[in-house]
Symmetry: C2
Subunit: 455 residues, 2 copies
């Protein structure tokens, strides 16, 4: 028997019990809140046709898709014909959850309700260079509504996002929800004199503000061909932008007086703000006219969850009314939000927001005195499991010391002893492994005592 | 915009909301029961190193592994060198959950408790020809204990398996748990005169009994080189084998008097049967000396869950004391069970065992009277979500008829109406879309009335 490499493949992770349970804890809350907003789950396969994926995520995206090889004769034929990268593969791994949603919305159109309100919590795959906090397999938690252009959709989605964070224990004020509108961004660039052809590249520069700061954005803009004057106008506006939500909307309206499309965009923002009033978003909402979120496909509202003391975002989304049409051949409006689960999990850990007693961990260890006591230990397990406890049974005839050590390895606080003395006296000894305290209890009082200690 | 192929890739499935929720319902019960037995979850990446996977599942298995292509320069180099199938790939998709467990047990040995009791519910991938009931992506629900040779492990695993089926609603008597021992199988073949070299191939023949029947097994045995006389002895024994659990053990002992290894195997079976007494397995247990379960790696007990009126198995497992050593370089005993989730889901459907009101579906639709009523509808949603209801909000200003139709598409029974009349009277109208009945309720009584109707 020789030792082989047993680490997970590069950029991917094994989740051992505690990590797996912590992820379950967070995901259960996300699911519960999403469901309370009337959303239902969707699951799609890990593989998609290569042509479904290619061309949806830009050139960089195409490079980062994990490709699954053709098999058997098909592969042999391609190899003989000395095909290229894309000829050898006929599928790729899920890269995000939006393209699968668009595919599903097109495929099952007749079977789906008029508005599809779906959430999807699955892994996505990117053949990116692994780095701290950057994985090749990671979860996305997406929430989308297709079929409606109503701004109630934006309000409900923002509200669900804020409700999830509140339920996870992040206090109000800990996070911001930044809101912008694609047409506000366009109007800003246009009003500053940036040529329409440079809009896309200028947005990429502006998107970097959190990373490179105001002067960095200025440099980037010039490098990307935006004139000195236009860049300076944009930077001056950044300085002038008020903080307060009403003031920034007033400021935008005064700037865009002569751009009717931009005025209607600000009115949309105002409507969203109004609809969010009194809900879980209130207080967290902030208008950020420079929020771009990189993705070219947004057509309306754009939003992002940010923890001011943490770089990067903890989720984001927006309205994308043209994407689903790529698959269905007809226009289907849509708006969605993706929670950054991996970052949220790090924040829960850093802020100590995971519950002490993680649901799902074993609570009790029933020890084994000797072979003859097996059936008694088994019966005790049966009773306690019937009472709803999570009970481990020590399988071997070892010293109590070894058994207690195992309980500690598994973070089980209470060991139950059932030896000849206990059997004789018709009791079970409960040992608190933290305090060392022991207590002999009759079967009638056992469950209640344990419940009061554990719950 | 042109229509592209939007069906999922061959052999894989999209799970739309109801299907996804049904799967969640079953998986939640499986998890809950497994946890009540003291097991904790493990999750591993979808990809494994190719060398981790190859050679573990036989020749056929090697062919059925989905291979993930190398990327970038590594791929280019391989293509120039005109490499073969395995040179082009550097990873494969998870083929089962046992090899990942073995890898994890080896990798994190120092961090894991003395006995690793883990369950794992994840998809596995097989590039098999898709057929009815045979998928290329499907879930496995595995339960394993590593580190102990105690038969308590077998008893606990069998008990957990039976408890899952009971909790899912399958009545006692609906399913059997068939039990055998690898050494009983060997001893049967040996005692019938089959040469040790033919043991493996003879087991494959015997394994087919459920599919091809007694005479089919006879034919298969001869085709595989087992002599006429040996085959006939085996078939005669099949006819002679008693049904009742004690009798079959007696019969085996009388057959194996002179084979000490086999006698100890029967004693192991007897011990497992004794330890299962009074637990959820009782009544379902049956000794089947011809149960082989194909896999060569079993070393002790072998078991299988069968529904007598359904072909194939709904799960199975056994003891495999040598597999984990392939990765860790030291012997680690292990025993496990894998629930056939896909088949269980079909059985739940066929036997109508899914609950009427599937958890997670929206329960209420708050309608929208007009633009002006938006904030009132939103406030009503907020209140009801706060009370724990799953509430959808209709996003558009449509006729009530359209809104009710949407509710029906989503199987929501109760629509809540909040128009000018309701606002004036300070009530909410609850409309039962099944009966057409309407009821005006004050906000103080609304939640309670809805709860009594829904729960």
């Amino acid at each position: 028997m020789s030792k082989t490499i047993t680490a997970p493949v590069s950029g991917m992770r094994d989740f051992l019990p505690i990590e797996a349970l912590r992820r379950r804890y967070a995901v259960a809350i996300v699911e519960d809140v999403y469901q309370s907003y009337g959303f239902e789950p969707l699951e799609t396969p890990v593989m998609e046709r290569l042509e479904t994926l290619l061309g949806k995520y830009g050139e960089e995206g195409d490079r980062l898709i994990f490709r699954v090889m053709k098999r058997g004769r098909k592969l042999q034929r391609t190899l003989q014909e000395a095909g290229g990268e894309n000829d050898l593969a006929d599928a790729g791994l899920r890269y995000d959850l939006t393209v699968p949603l668009a595919r599903v919305a097109a495929e099952y159109h007749g079977r789906l309700p008029r508005f599809l309100k779906r959430y999807q919590i699955q892994q996505v795959y990117r053949a990116d260079r692994p780095a701290r906090g950057r994985f090749r397999e990671f979860y996305q938690c997406d929430l989308d509504v297709t079929g409606s252009k109503s701004l109630l959709v934006e309000a409900e989605i923002l509200s669900a996002a804020a409700a999830v964070l509140a339920r996870l224990g992040f206090p109000a004020g800990d996070f911001q929800i930044r809101l912008n509108h694609r047409r506000v961004l366009s109007a800003l660039l246009q009003s500053a004199g940036v040529a329409p052809a440079l809009e896309e590249t200028a947005l990429v520069a502006i998107d970097k503000i959190d990373k490179v700061g105001r002067s960095g954005v200025g440099r980037e803009l010039k490098e990307r061909g935006v004139s000195e004057r236009c860049a300076e106008t944009l930077l001056r506006w950044m300085d002038e932008t008020p903080e307060e939500i009403e003031s920034v909307m007033e400021w935008l309206l005064s700037l865009f007086q002569s751009v009717p499309e931009a005025v209607s965009a600000v009115q949309d923002l105002r409507q969203i703000v109004t609809l969010c009033a009194d809900g879980p978003v209130q207080g967290a909402l902030k208008i950020d006219p420079y929020l771009a979120r990189g993705l070219g496909y947004y057509t309306g509202a754009i939003f992002e969850v940010a923890f001011p003391d943490v770089p990067g975002s903890a989720g984001g989304g927006g309205r994308y009314d043209n994407l689903i049409g790529m698959f269905s051949g007809r226009e289907v409006p849509a708006c969605g939000f993706s929670l950054g689960l991996e970052r949220i999990l790090i924040l829960l850990e850093e802020r100590d927001l995971f519950p002490q007693n993680l649901a799902g961990r074993p609570e009790l260890l029933v020890t084994l005195f000797d072979e003859a006591a097996m059936k008694h230990s088994l019966a005790l397990c049966r009773t306690l499991r019937g009472e709803g406890f999570r009970v481990d049974l020590y399988p071997e005839n070892d010293s109590y010391g070894k058994q207690f050590k195992y309980a500690e390895q598994r973070s089980i606080r209470y060991a139950l002893l059932l030896g000849p003395e206990e059997l004789e006296r018709e009791v079970v000894t409960v040992k608190d492994l933290q305090t060392g305290q022991q207590l002999a209890l009759r079967s009638g009082e056992l469950a209640e005592e344990l419940r009061s200690r554990l719950r």
